[in-house]
């Protein structure tokens, strides 16, 4: 039942396919020159060549590594900050104001500063990803912890949970739905900042492939790079949604779907 593609979904594919066909046709007629954008067929062929010759694999691994490192730092620091800020008034007073202020700064605009501070190696790229993924996690987890039903906290106290037990059995699972939404936002922000970070003096990574292709007017390779970014974004989002589905199996909406 879950694997049957509904009619509506098929219908929704119609207009993208028409656009692709038009694009291909206009490229073939020479109306759209390849230096503006390559034809879909050329792009597909380039994709295949890059994928099979293994050249793109190394760059893919480098990009993935940057996002993974940045996300790990960003999610960890967002989580710690949110827990400290949400668990006491004093914590909130100390942590929340600067977080709200920094959040107002367009983080991608920090790139020149990051280059001055960290040079042009891996550090500024990872720092950019880490910075931009910290805030979504902080904001959603902070809100999630604060919205845990105080009646449940009270009941758990009556039944003898200590502070650690309370965090483990009540606060964390109660805040998890919001936190996972935050992680999905963080993923989006992470890929975006990776794209920006990699376009500045990267010598490896998908962004480097794109910048390299620009120098040789290879619009086909540029599009392949963008498609890879998009696929990575979709794949990582799908992973988090799968985690959501497992970890939040108790939610009434999912419980009913199961029954």
């Amino acid at each position: 039942m879950f694997f049957r593609i509904p009619r509506r979904a098929l219908l929704r594919l119609a207009s993208p396919l028409v656009i692709l066909a038009l694009w291909q046709g206009l490229s073939a007629l020479g109306v759209i020159p390849a230096r503006i954008i390559a034809s879909p067929a050329t792009i597909a062929a380039t994709f295949w060549t890059l994928a099979t010759t293994g050249r793109i694999g190394v760059d893919l691994a480098v990009s993935l590594g940057r996002v993974a490192a940045g996300l790990a730092i960003g999610i960890a620091s967002g989580t710690v900050l949110a827990i400290v800020a949400a668990s006491s008034r004093r914590g909130e007073t100390i942590i929340d104001p600067p977080m709200q202020m920094i959040r107002a700064v367009p983080l991608l605009g920090l790139t020149p500063l990051l280059i001055l501070w960290f040079g042009i190696g891996e550090t500024p790229k990872i720092a950019l990803v880490a910075l931009s993924s910290t805030f979504p996690v902080y904001l959603t987890l902070f809100g999630g912890i604060r919205s845990v039903d105080p009646k449940l906290v009270e009941a758990a106290c009556v039944f003898g949970l200590d502070r650690w037990g309370l965090i483990r059995h009540v606060i964390v699972p109660g805040a998890l739905p919001s936190a996972l939404v935050g992680v999905r936002y963080a993923l989006g922000a992470a890929w975006l900042s990776l794209v920006v970070g990699e376009q500045i003096n990267a010598d490896r990574g998908i962004g480097h492939v794109i910048m390299d292709a620009r120098d040789f007017l290879r619009t086909d390779i540029i599009v392949v790079g963008l498609v890879i970014y998009a696929l990575l974004g979709l794949a990582s989002d799908a992973i988090v949604r799968a985690i959501e589905h497992r970890a939040l199996a108790w939610r009434p909406s999912l419980v009913r779907a199961e029954a």
Binding site: K151, L152, E154, V158
Partner: protein
Amino acid sequence: MRETGVRVSALRRTFGANTVLDGVDLEIAPGEFVALLGRSGSGKTTLLRTLAGLEAPSAGRVVVPDRRAVAFQDARLLPWKRVWENVALGLPPSDARRRAHEALDEVGLAARRDAWPATLSGGEAQRVALARALVRAPELLLLDEPFAALDALTRLRMHLLVGELWRRHDPAVLLVTHDVDEAVLLADRVLVLEYGRIAHTFTIDLPRPRESAQRRFAHHRRTLLAALGVELPNPTFEQIVAGSF
């Protein structure tokens, strides 16, 4: 051996300028079942919460047993833990699962022990809440209007279940309720709280099991309702002859 009942003397609790409990004296013997009646806002729930340790007294002395358990009006199950895990909450992990299963057996929910709380009916959720309270072998069981939100038939079944569990486990019980019949059916003693003090105490000396159609049951109900300010019309001669009041 079990000398730890409840001893409360001159308990006061104020919230700002508002005095909710104004000199409450209360003793509950080990194994005694006490029901607490009173109008809304009379301080019933505050008194129960104080005994649970959820409210600090503003003045006065409160002595309660160490092992206490509460069943709230809303069952307050953690929605992200399966039924048995809710019951096992806070137990030493070595035998938590076994004890939780036994407790669920006792309230007749063995079949639902792996269910999510979101799938339970109101009555089932309250039975889980009872199991979660009983699994700790409490010396004092605090019931805060646990049946108020249930339909009439489910409530009757819950009354039987609570009576049975109390007989078997023998904790001291404080039942906060609005339901006069419930109080007469279950309690050894019924207290009426008024303006932050215990205004009336009634001993219910009916033999168990009790049944609301009994004549002396009706007498207790009438007396209690009068104490709560509800005067029933006097029974007619025919009703008395028919024995139906």
